[in-house]
């Protein structure tokens, strides 16, 4: 791999997330690992651009149960302190199992119940157009989440009102397959007049190119192929780990695998 610094950084964040899970006995680690690359690259490339206050891009993590990944990225880009991650889910912590916009700096929407982030983003997109704000709004949804009817209601509106400042990213880790197999997800979106990009959701370059692609002629959908629990083969695609906390020996083994 030629992007070792990136990989090292992601691995460092994963170790911190694993430690938070272990200490707090709370969290959805595999879902967080599947979306971490997406969050990291979008924050780095589009959201947190130093002191440049003219940039008004915003991101909503609609699959709020992956909050561990969001907090790790917020800490990495200076919105919160890294030490806060260790208190995750605790009585005195502002970092809950799902992100709360009224508690955590950098959190745009309080998510957790699925199917809420995209409608909120539609409203923000319309507001940006009214205000001649040229920023973009990014929304990350899970593939299971798009079972929700509000997804398809929102897509109708995104098309009808040509919300070209909105970028929908599907974290396609196939966690929804156990209920409804979506099959060719791309084809589900092709009935809409959208720009659709399919990428490897763990490939820094592909994420960056998809995010930075400034077409602005059509609303954008990024289908990001990801793996639940990516980077830890012991938990990858294992439903048992969806909301599980490692014991002492498992923690030691998982941590070792991330060194």
């Amino acid at each position: 791999m030629d992007n070792k610094p990136y990989i090292d950084e992601i691995r460092d964040l994963k170790r911190r997330m694993l430690k938070s899970l272990y200490l707090s006995k709370e969290g959805h680690l595999p879902s967080s690992f599947s979306v971490l690359d997406l969050l990291y690259v979008i924050y780095r490339d589009a959201i947190s651009i130093g002191q440049d206050t003219s940039v008004k891009n915003q991101l909503i993590l609609s699959k709020g149960h992956a909050s561990l990944a969001l907090y790790a990225v917020l800490a990495r880009f200076g919105y919160i302190g890294f030490q806060e991650l260790d208190g995750f889910g605790g009585r005195e912590s502002r970092l809950g199992g799902h992100p709360d916009r009224n508690k955590v700096p950098g959190v745009v929407a309080s998510t957790g119940s699925l199917g809420h982030g995209l409608p909120i983003a539609v409203g923000m997109s319309i507001a940006k157009n009214l205000d001649d704000d040229n920023g973009s709004i990014y929304v990350i949804v899970g593939d299971g989440e798009i079972n929700e009817g509000t997804t398809w209601e929102s897509l109708l509106l995104i098309e009808e009102h040509r919300l070209v400042n909105l970028c929908l990213i599907v974290d396609l880790n196939h966690s929804g397959d156990r209920a409804i197999k979506l099959g060719d997800v791309k084809s589900k979106f092709q009935g809409f007049d959208f720009e659709i990009v399919e990428i490897d959701g763990h490939n820094e370059k592909e994420i960056s190119e998809a995010i930075n692609m400034e077409i602005r002629l059509k609303p954008k959908v990024v289908i990001a192929n990801t793996v639940k629990g990516y980077g830890l083969s012991a938990i990858e695609n294992d439903p048992a780990w969806h909301h599980r906390v490692p014991n002492d020996s498992e923690y030691a083994e998982l941590l070792q695998a991330l060194l």
Partner: protein, 293 residues
Amino acid sequence: MRKTFAKISYEIQREDESVFVLLGDIGVHSFQNSFRDFESRTLNIGILEQTMIGLASGLAMSGKVPILHTIAPFLVERCYEQIKVDFGYQKLHGNLVSVGASFDYSALGSTHHCPADVAILSKIPGMEIVLPGTKVEFEKLFLENYNSSNCTYFRLSEYENSQSFDLKIGQGKKVREGTSASILVIGPILDLVLESVTELDVEILYFNSVAPLDEDLIRNSCSSGKILIVEPYYSGVLSVQVLRILKGVSLRLVNLGVSCEFPENYGSRDEIYESLGLSRLRIREELLELIHE
């Protein structure tokens, strides 16, 4: 009341560029002036109420003042979790304006009835719940509160009281003095109550906002300790509040509202009310029993 709503919304949109009107494909014709003059801030969003709520919260986050409108069951019951999370939990401002509850669309059946709205919305922390008794009351309450920092539910009715009261949100009014008992009545059924108790020596307290509630008025009245609560929706919302407000006071409290069942009949609003236990006769009977026991 709905025509007044369209007129006032237009005036507010004209004065305040942050105001954004969303219609759930209901009442569209009434808002033709807003569509014409404020095209970018007036949308017939379509028949997708849940998304309409989320979208409106996104507008609110972005500094806009959303006004949402459709028929009560579609606005409240269908979207309850969206209202709870997107407005309540996120602490966002907005105006949910319904029409039709509880039984204005009496002949259309239970899909279009909404006697549960006040009860369920009262379980969302921070919600303001307003039931104007007349269009004049609505106009004042809406103008004074459309840009408050809370989410406010305005429950419009096609029925009105014959008299309007100049009340702020959270303010009630003693409309009649009396000593033998107190009646607490909500919104556009005041006439029903007044007609039921013409010659009786009872105090009548009128409220057009349930949340916030005029606690001082209740605390400083009700000296007989005998209270009849008359609500135009599923009964029981106010009694919990009254018990809390009058804690320690010896009370005889009777709830009279709509019983929790689907009506078997069609007919007028009052015919539905009657079949579910809310009528002039019932009000009078309950009151006489309360006074004489």
